[in-house]
Subunit: 426 residues, 2 copies
Amino acid sequence: MIRLDASAPDFATAFAALVDARREADEDVARDVAAIVARVRDEGDAAVRDLTQRFDRHSLDWRIDRADCLAAWEGLPSELRDALELAAERIAAYHLKQKPEDRDEIDSAGIRLGARWRPVDAAGVYVPGGRAAYPSSVLMNALPAKAAGVGRLVMVTPAPDGQINPLVLAAAHLAGVDEIWRIGGAQAIAALAYGTETIAPVDVITGPGNAWVAEAKRQLYGVVGIDMVAGPSEIVVVADAKNDPEWIAADLLSQAEHDPTSQSILFTDDAAFGDRVAEAVDRQIAVLATGATARTSWDANGAIIVVPDLVDALPLVDRLAPEHLELACDDAEALFDAVRHAGSVFIGRHTPEAIGDYVAGPNHVLPTGRRARFASGLSVLDFMKRTSFLALDEAGLAAIGPAAVALAGAEGLPAHARSVSIRLNQ
Amino acid sequence: MIRLDASAPDFATAFAALVDARREADEDVARDVAAIVARVRDEGDAAVRDLTQRFDRHSLDWRIDRADCLAAWEGLPSELRDALELAAERIAAYHLKQKPEDRDEIDSAGIRLGARWRPVDAAGVYVPGGRAAYPSSVLMNALPAKAAGVGRLVMVTPAPDGQINPLVLAAAHLAGVDEIWRIGGAQAIAALAYGTETIAPVDVITGPGNAWVAEAKRQLYGVVGIDMVAGPSEIVVVADAKNDPEWIAADLLSQAEHDPTSQSILFTDDAAFGDRVAEAVDRQIAVLATGATARTSWDANGAIIVVPDLVDALPLVDRLAPEHLELACDDAEALFDAVRHAGSVFIGRHTPEAIGDYVAGPNHVLPTGRRARFASGLSVLDFMKRTSFLALDEAGLAAIGPAAVALAGAEGLPAHARSVSIRLNQ
């Protein structure tokens, strides 16, 4: 953890280093992934079978029956079923309201024009397997696709040594996933993108994964749609001294426990409060089951930054463009109004970021690594596409056609010009 | 040009081959582009200077003054100025209506949640240089960024041998571009993405380019936002025998003249009409200034497909998911209702595709190569991003917090659980 003071003479340099620090794994996986993708494209099932044997050490049938998902659901403690149902209900409600409206207008020149949204035919959701099983990710990826109206929703999830976490299957049941395949890694992404003898191709692939999965999605962007390039999780907390330091420490640790590359940053206008939070972080880490990961993350990437006034934090926050931003202070609303770049904002002292990870409704798939400058969280729009349309009659074409003929001529495209002028000269 | 009959026994195989045919340049530019991108990232201006000298053969100052753009504008014939102004007015009007609405709601649990859209700070538009100068592309890329409210709009365009087409500068003047740089190729994309000593970085890069430009955008996707992976242009025309074959031939040629890799496909329910269109294509190519390109495209990639009824064309059109779809028939409206996948649809006999390239209003930057299955044309949304937000009070957290604690516990993330439970136990 580094401590910075915005009033110190070397602050600009130190903060720039924090902004530019690369936390993303620099593994050179591109070549391996390209080879896997090409093999799956060319060899289909045989390649997926071989790679699954090699990486996941099993040769089980890939297909997971929906009956297995139902059984997993019914096997959950009722407390978890209730929690998942509350989450699903709220996530579905939030995302249904994202559905865009079509346009169909006639303008002053009598020209009909508009745009129409339709869901993609098929979407694939990648769900990581192994120790960490995130049913919340199943809901956050599958439910927006359902809300969009996607007809065929496919899930792939690896089963290392043949094992699958029942929580993931239970969430798939709840979300209404149509097909589930027990495959993972770059080979699963390639199978979804190109299709194989067994698995029909999809149009969009979303969901988190390791470096191989992320690189496969990147390489196949254009063959299919993808959600985004995801990096390590991060949180920025802007907090005044009226907060309980234990609360703020807990929030910082809720990101730090994700991964050694996660990042937690506190902005405060009170250096002594910052010290109390740092002490609380240390106390909490000591008793946390995920303390080793959180320790590494906090030590390597954590920061406490003291600013003269909390409003002074805002331009710094915008430069970080964090995935998650908590505003735990009296004037949270005013600060929120001024923030330009953040994936999701959590306003007020009773809105810990983790509430948004699970049950609040908005999506927890959010842009990381400063990408909130230009990218948005996962939404219904990622599973839909827009078709624009035009309808002109003779009068409409007479009104605007000559301008098109002039421009096509100037651009040296005579067939463009002719396709308009031939209709004007009748 | 191939002729297919949907009633023929081998049609399924032949059509599948048409759908799967790769028309995109298979040049192996990835390695060259990666080297250029890395050099610009590491060496900044010096690399751009060197690469501009090498590829564009000039060492002029990169900066183009806005006064030069004004002069170019004033030097245009008034007919072209009027045409560009009409186009700009209609494009701006169409795209302003794309601006999404913010959401700010309080739900039944008393929880405030919503989403807010903001423009990116800076956008870069790539405009190809050389012989083909497309002022319409300047408008189609710059005006949506302006409509989004982008504060800093940057244009880059190469100047082979120091030459720049005044039409492009005039369009930049009209569109209100803030900065123009006389650089191009992968080096210009990298300069925009990373910034150099001279050029500040941008957040989003859009605009067409050659294979190097496209590959640079693909490689830098994630560092910046990009519009899409673009391929050769294509048109599908669905036409009955009541059309003038010359009109339909002109429409097919308006795509064929773009590039040897462009594709034009006619679906008709009348084989004799198809023959008349084919004859008209040959007649028109013979007198077309762009006839050589159109000939190559039509011979290599053109198709006339006879279907028993025009509605039988629709599932085939959806498989092609064409960039442009013209419906020139009596029941165009009914066909339009049933189409699922197309970038833009042109309804009725008086709506040639070229009208949409220039002046109608909707964007002419559209998904190619079957990407309309999942992608949309360029829009205001490409220059904006959405921030979701949440605000809970004690009662709201009490209502949904326990479910979050349960799920975080099940996912093995105790710090997530604690950041919620610590606020519940007060």
